[in-house]
C-alpha cells in the first residue's frame, strides 16, 4: 500500500470557455487532515468533484489509493457534498439503511451513537429537521464510514460557531486514522488548529502547499493571517484606482 493517497498531475478542468482548474499538481499522504483553502471560485469544489468521480477532468492525471477514479476509488471515498440531496420523507434511520446497503464500511452502530452525541433523533423525518440538524445527519452519514479518504466540502459553512466546534470535534474523534481528511472551506481561523497541512488554491492553481506548523514557523503568523495577506495583495495589484 503506497503512502500516497491522492496524486494529481497537471489536472485541468474547463467549463466551456471558463477554466476552473489550470494544471493542479498535488500529493496527499495517508493519516493527514488537510485544508483545501481558497476564495470563492478558486476551484475547491471542482477538485473535490473530480476526486469523487462526479466530474471528468479536461486534462491531466489523477490517482486515489494508487488507482484511477472508478469503482475502487468510490468505495474508499466518503464524500460530504456542499448541498443537501436527501428526500424529504426519509428519516435518518432510512438513510442509514441506504448507506448500509451501498457501503460495506458503513457502521450503523457508530451512526446511531453519533446522532445521540449530536442531539439528533434518528427516527425524525428529514422534512421536520432544521437546516443545521440536516447538516449534522449528513455529517454522521459521512463520518460513520471507515473510509480511506473523507472529502468534506464546506462542512462548517452553514452552522453557528458553537455547532462548528461540535462538528470539528466529531470529525476529529471519528475519522479513520489510516485515512486522510480533505476539508474545503474559507473559514480558516475556525479549522486551522485541526489541520496538518494547508493547500491554497487561487484561480485553479495550487499556490501553496505546506504543513501548518511550517507556515507558522517560517512566516511567524497564522495560516488565516497569511491567507488574508496573500489574497488581499493580489486583488490590489490587479486594480487601477
Amino acid at each position: 500500500m503506497s503512502d500516497l493517497l491522492i496524486q494529481c498531475r497537471g489536472l485541468c478542468k474547463s467549463y466551456g470557455h471558463k477554466s476552473a482548474l489550470q494544471g493542479v499538481d498535488l500529493q496527499v499522504d495517508r493519516g493527514r487532515i488537510v485544508g483545501l483553502l481558497g476564495p470563492n471560485g478558486s476551484g475547491k469544489t471542482t477538485l473535490i468533484k473530480i476526486l469523487c468521480g462526479l466530474l471528468q477532468p479536461t486534462a491531466g492525471e489523477i490517482l486515489v489509493d494508487g488507482q484511477s477514479i472508478g469503482t475502487h476509488s468510490k468505495s474508499v471515498i466518503s464524500y460530504l457534498p456542499d448541498r443537501m440531496y436527501f428526500a424529504d420523507w426519509m428519516a435518518a434511520t432510512d438513510l442509514f439503511d441506504l448507506f448500509h446497503d451501498f457501503y460495506t464500511d458503513f457502521d450503523r452502530q457508530k451512526a446511531i451513537a453519533m446522532c445521540e452525541s449530536l442531539g439528533v433523533e434518528p427516527r425524525d423525518k428529514m422534512k421536520t429537521m432544521s437546516k443545521g440538524t440536516k447538516e449534522k445527519v449528513q455529517l454522521v452519514l459521512v463520518m460513520a464510514r471507515k473510509a480511506q479518504l473523507y472529502l468534506l466540502d464546506e462542512p462548517i459553512a452553514g452552522v453557528d460557531p458553537a455547532a462548528r466546534d461540535f462538528i470539528l470535534s466529531t470529525i476529529l474523534t471519528n475519522y479513520n486514522e489510516e485515512g486522510s481528511v480533505l476539508i474545503s472551506t474559507h473559514l480558516i481561523s475556525d479549522i486551522e488548529r485541526v489541520l496538518d497541512e494547508a493547500i491554497f488554491l487561487k484561480e485553479g492553481k495550487v499556490i501553496l502547499h505546506n504543513s501548518v506548523d511550517n507556515i507558522r514557523e517560517t512566516e511567524g503568523k497564522s495560516v488565516d493571517a497569511l491567507f488574508r495577506e496573500m489574497f488581499r495583495a493580489q486583488t490590489l495589484e490587479g486594480g487601477n484606482f
Binding site: 493527514r32 487532515i33 466546534d165 470535534s169 476529529l172 488548529r193 496538518d196 507558522r216 511567524g220
Partner: protein, 121 residues
C-alpha cells in the same frame, strides 16, 4: 482544561509548553498517567498528529516517559521536573525585568520594589 493558543507560533510548541506547566504545577503528578493522545487532542480541539508532536517534545525533555503497556506517564524523576520549574521561573523573571526596564527601572530598583511588596503582604 483551558488551552490558550495564539496565532503567531507553532501549535505543537504551545501545547507542549502548556502540558509542561501542568506537570510542573502538579496537575499531572510525578509518575502519574497522562491522558491518551486522542483524548488530549479532542480536549484541545487540535489535530492528533499535532498533540503527538507536543508529547514527543515532552519526552525528549524528559518530562514524560512512554511505557509500552501503560501508555504515557509523567516522569518519576523529580529532579527533571524541578529543573523545568527553574527554567520557567527564570523566563518569568527575565520578562519581569524587561517590563521593569520598560518603565525606566533598573534591576536593583526593581528588586527593591519587589522586596517592599513582600513586606506589605
Amino acid at each position: 482544561m483551558e488551552w490558550n493558543l495564539s496565532d503567531d507560533r507553532p501549535i505543537w510548541l504551545q501545547l507542549s509548553e502548556q502540558l509542561a506547566r501542568q506537570i510542573v504545577s502538579g496537575i499531572y503528578p510525578p509518575g502519574g498517567k497522562l491522558p491518551s493522545v486522542r483524548d488530549l487532542a479532542a480536549d484541545a480541539g487540535v489535530n492528533p498528529n499535532t498533540m503527538q508532536r507536543a508529547l514527543s517534545q515532552l519526552e525528549s525533555e524528559g518530562l514524560a516517559v512512554s511505557n509500552r503497556t501503560a501508555g504515557r506517564m509523567v516522569t518519576e524523576d523529580t529532579a527533571v521536573i524541578d529543573a523545568a520549574r527553574r527554567k520557567m521561573a527564570r523566563e518569568i523573571i527575565t520578562t519581569f525585568f524587561a517590563a521593569m526596564a520598560g518603565l525606566g527601572l533598573s534591576r536593583a530598583r526593581a528588586i527593591e520594589l519587589l522586596k517592599e511588596e513582600e513586606i506589605h503582604e
